[in-house]
Amino acid sequence: MEKDRIYYHELIAGYFSGEIDSAAVSELSAWVKQNSENQKQFEDYHKTWLILEETRIETIVDINDEWSALQAKIQFTNVDEPQIIKPDFSPKKGKNIFVSVLRIAAVLVVFAASAFLIYQWLNKPVMQKAYANNVSLEQKLPDGTSVTLNAGASIQYPDKFTGGNRKVTLTGEAYFDVAHDSTKPFVIDAGVVTIQVLGTSFYVNTSDADGNTIIVLTTGKVKITSKTDINNIVILSPGEKAVFSASQNEFVKKQNEDMNYLAWKTGKIRFENATMKEIANTLGNVYRKNIKLTNDEIANCRVTATFENQSLDAVLNVLKATIDIKTSTKGNTIEISGNACDKK
């Protein structure tokens, strides 16, 4: 029966993903044992799954992270020298001196070990998390890097950067001003991509309205790697923007045209002969509201204006004074209506 086949195929996929409960496991088992055809189906899917799992584990397990995690859990003692006993071929008369030297060495090793233990205990990095609620938040990281989180964004970072790199995890939108340290690359886990920098300032949005990951570079150089495909990388130069689509595993690199991409942080918005469509878009992003144009005619009206640290109402008032528009607010949505502008 077709329906049954589909049902059991879903069970098989669910079984390998660890998503089905124990009753379903038994049900699947009974079905597989029923006849050799079912068994073959199961085995074929299993082999396919195995191949996929190998790639998956190769890709998403980061051995450096895992080693750091393990180090945090283990107290390492006697790290200086492995204990090796060399066979003692020396003549016996030297034995007493040898033994006292050994005793002193033992005391020194124990002392070094306890000092090391205490040092380790005092210095275990503790994970911190900074979360920007309704306003943007600036957070300084232990290496001097400054991160400005936009509302709703959060970052996880250790209170000390130990190990070979400086690694943080970001969700949302943020602006990074990374302190320069050529010995320790700064690495950001941004959901579906990994961003590696040396000393640089740039903007990241881990998931915009379309579900894409956006990175815009202000100064320096960054290398961005897709997490699902480590061969898919892009390197940005200042002024460039990368848009990554996880579903297509594709980077699109272009010059950044949007001069207001940091407006949420700087409070400064510049419109130079910008269309109302662009303006509505930008204002929506900066003030976190849904700004809609009610008709197409006003979409092409152009405005030149600069706003510094103005409220949305102030901005809208200036626009109303400049072109013939009306606004009405309904909750989080602001509708802008008006007539077409004269073509000059």
Partner: protein, 188 residues
């Protein structure tokens, strides 16, 4: 560190422990994951096995391969996990070639660069929604419920898409399945 044949290494030191870890961690995760079907649990089991090794380093017999010691720990804890979850099904595990004796267990990853690229390109050929869900499950390590919540669809849809993805990949990787099998049988 200079050692000669006459020397006896009495203890595992931090450096050789780290080398062991870096060499075997991923393999062991793959091994554990085949049983427990959950990567986070697999990582935890393997991490704990290494901690266990470190703590017992004075008492284990270093004449025997250390790796088999860790493998045994991982194997036992994986089976225990399955039993706790009441998901231990001997028959299914047999069909999955998960020998129910650790001695016969093979743990090494076989993935080659070439196979890796083939798989990634196959994933890229999946229909859009299907690929998105598949990637979220396997590479972002999200559970079906989390995927459903994120994409605002039902868990049933996620289940159906994962099954479709598996069917698609089975056809795409058909050629490689027999090669991999051959390696698995002849690996020591």
């Amino acid at each position: 560190m200079n050692t000669t044949e006459n020397d006896i290494i009495l203890k595992l030191d931090k450096d050789s422990f780290e080398l062991l870890f870096r060499k075997h961690f991923k393999n062991l995760c793959f091994f554990a994951q085949r049983y427990v079907k959950d990567l986070d649990i697999a990582k935890e089991i393997v991490q704990e096995a290494f901690i266990n090794l470190w703590e017992k380093r004075d008492s284990i017999d270093l004449a025997k391969p250390v790796k088999s010691y860790i493998t045994t720990t991982v194997y036992n804890r994986s089976l225990n996990y399955l039993r706790d979850q009441k998901k231990f099904d001997k028959d299914l595990l047999t069909f999955e070639n998960l020998a129910l004796s650790v001695a016969a267990s093979q743990t090494d990853l076989l993935a080659s660069k070439e196979l890796d690229l083939v798989i990634k390109s196959a994933i890229n050929e999946l229909p859009e929604k299907c690929r998105e869900i598949f990637v979220m499950s396997r590479f972002e390590n999200l559970k079906y419920q989390e995927i459903a919540d994120k994409l605002k669809i039902s868990v049933k849809t996620v289940e159906a898409q994962m099954s479709k993805a598996l069917q698609f990949m089975r056809i795409k990787l058909a050629d490689y399945i027999s090669i991999i099998l051959a390696f698995m049988i002849f690996e020591k």
